[in-house]
């Protein structure tokens, strides 16, 4: 049964447009041009309890706006949404006790104090019973292995450690729904991996419903069976991630380093970078194996790294209906 529903959800922002220069600045004191921009346009979504949904899309697509609407931070211009039986915008206390939100670039931790102080504050704010608080603290600090860091001032923690503390602070009151907006942004590969594992465990062991936005394909791949692609405020894909990638991720980017100076010559590749010891090229996915075989037979290769195509390109392709127009049956 769906615990999160959005029906024709629309959010239009009003922006003030000013003319350039000093004259424009003074002119704006008397007259301002207001332009409207739809950040979310007739958006429909249903999420069942226990699901982990990945929300992907380029910058400005409307991902964060959707999260803010579902949390009640902002109000819809039209349409409606329902989270756990509540209208988010009303910000009822019972509603606020039942979910948590973590935004990668906005912290709820007190910068000059240890995270333990924020945890203690949240215990009071959410009225968490002592035994539940203790059990959750033990569970999460074990899972993240951060017991030694809880009493260190937040300002002295690394970015990854801070994000772990943010997640613990968000989950202490055992929310049923967790909204995550770019939780791994700026983190190194190890911290990203730890956070993914943590979220996976929280989703699977505790049944917490997760809506995750991320620019990193690995986050979505590791955590979400279902993916929603959003572009210019509209939903353009809603379905399994594998199907999305199979269908629309046409290219791979190959990084090759050589043992000696090499001037590689290959057919059907688009060169991104060429230097005496290194080459980077983009190639169609079905040509990866034969091309690499050819390369290994012709040159002294030291190392090869295969990268997935940038998610922005994939979305652009879906949006422009390449590869079979509306071939993606899940698009609503």
């Amino acid at each position: 049964m769906a615990i999160i529903q959005a029906r024709s959800l629309t959010k239009i922002y009003r922006r003030i447009k000013k003319q350039d220069g000093l004259k424009g600045a003074f002119k704006a004191l008397f007259h301002r041009e207001v332009v409207k921009k739809a950040a979310l346009d007739s958006f429909d979504l249903e999420i069942d309890e226990g699901e982990c949904i990945g929300l992907i899309g380029p910058n400005g697509a409307g991902k964060t706006t959707l999260v803010k609407l579902l949390c009640g931070i902002i109000q819809p211009t039209s349409g409606s949404c329902d989270v756990l039986g509540f209208t988010p915008g009303m910000l009822k206390n019972e509603f606020r006790r039942s979910f948590a939100v973590v935004m990668g670039q906005k912290s709820q931790l007190w910068w000059d104090l240890p995270a333990s102080d924020t945890f203690a504050l949240n215990r009071e704010i959410y009225d968490i019973p002592e035994e539940v608080y203790r059990a959750n603290m033990d569970y999460f600090s074990d899972l993240f292995q951060v017991k030694d860091l809880i009493n260190v001032p937040v300002r002295n923690l690394s970015l990854g450690e801070r994000m772990k503390m943010e997640l613990i602070a968000a989950l202490l009151h055992s929310p049923r729904v967790l909204f995550l907006d770019e939780p791994t942004i700026g983190l190194d590969a190890i911290a990203q991996k730890q956070i993914r594992q943590f979220l996976r465990q929280v989703n699977q062991e505790r049944g917490v419903t997760i809506l995750l936005t991320s620019h990193y394909m690995e986050d979505i791949r590791h955590l979400c069976k279902r993916t929603v692609v959003i572009s210019s405020g509209k939903k353009i894909y809603d379905g399994p991630l594998d199907m999305l990638l199979d269908r629309f991720q046409e290219y791979r980017v190959i990084h090759v380093t050589f043992e000696r100076e090499t001037e590689p010559q290959l057919d059907a590749v688009e060169w991104v970078e060429k230097s005496p010891y290194k080459a980077v090229f983009r190639i169609r996915r079905d040509l990866v194996t034969p091309t690499l075989q050819e390369m290994l037979s012709l040159y002294d290769v030291d190392d090869i790294r295969i990268e997935e195509e940038d998610i922005g390109n994939v979305i652009e392709r879906i949006y422009h209906g390449e590869n079979g127009g509306d071939s993606c049956g899940q698009v609503s």
Partner: protein, 272 residues
């Protein structure tokens, strides 16, 4: 629609506690701030001593009375720390960081009051050594209270004045939802409060009709009346003062809650 904002006290006590801890996070800052009251005391003494050179009474007040009046009003004015929170909170609204109060079951007003009063308590602790020194070694320039009832009345009035200022500052902060930058509003409010409360110039130096008009405004009762009560003056105004200040606090509380619920609907929570 006005509804009760502050219901569960524990979370606000914890907010106060964490705000207080935040105040003492840096040792040097604590050290400097604990010295400042002594410097201000010395400067005030030097200034008023110079003004009283060759005169024993100004505006009907002796040097001792004026010093006592000045010290009490400036002390009460400094006790209000919520005006510092205006900038912090308005910045949070502008930058979209205010969302953290909206998504957690806590009243932003309750949080603001708790943080403001915690800061006040901290300032009180810092000022306490200066008060002790003043009482022990400079008792000739600080007159004792006219009586214990006068002291209690002055404290109660001063506390209510602080609550009023906290609410006024919260209301000013809420304007950031609508206007984004509230520098102009804040400066206007600061200047008005400073003048109308008598902390800039004793109200007794102003024309009679202005003093009469002031009695209907809360500012008169925030610093001027507590200082007067302490000195044993204007005691007949204590009860009317309590009623007027109480009415202003109730009205401002209602208005603050209303404005928040109204203005949060236009909040955009910018950024990720």
């Amino acid at each position: 629609m006005v509804k009760t904002e502050v219901t569960h006290v524990g979370k606000y006590l914890e907010t106060g506690k964490i705000s207080m801890k935040n105040q003492v996070a840096y040792r040097f800052d604590v050290f400097v701030r604990s010295i400042l009251p002594f410097i201000r005391l010395f400067l005030a003494y030097a200034l008023w001593k110079a003004l009283y050179a060759g005169q024993s009474v100004i505006g009907g007040m002796s040097f001792e009375m004026m010093m006592t009046y000045y010290l009490i009003t400036s002390f009460l004015l400094r006790l209000d720390q919520s005006s510092g929170l205006v900038w912090e909170t308005a910045e949070e609204i502008r930058e979209g960081r205010f969302s953290k109060y909206m998504v957690r079951p806590i009243s932003p007003l309750g949080h603001f009051l708790a943080a403001g009063l915690a800061k006040t308590l901290y300032v009180l602790l810092l000022v306490l050594p200066a008060v002790v020194v003043l009482a022990a070694f400079m008792h000739r320039i600080l007159l004792p209270p006219a009586g214990w009832m006068n002291l209690a009345g002055a404290c109660l009035m001063g506390f209510m004045g602080l609550i009023f200022l906290c609410l006024l500052n919260y209301l000013t902060t809420m304007l950031a939802f609508k206007f984004n930058d509230i520098t102009g509003w804040h400066l206007l409010k600061e200047n008005l409060v400073e003048f109308l409360s008598g902390s800039l110039v004793p109200l007794s130096l102003l024309p009679e009709w202005i003093q009469e008009a002031m009695r209907f405004f809360p500012f008169y009762y925030m610093q001027y009346l507590p200082a007067s009560l302490y000195l044993g003056l204007k005691t007949e105004e204590f009860v009317p003062g309590l009623i007027i200040l109480g009415l202003w606090i109730t009205g401002l509380y209602g208005l603050s809650v209303f404005v928040y619920h109204r203005f949060r609907r236009i909040y955009e929570g910018v950024g990720n």
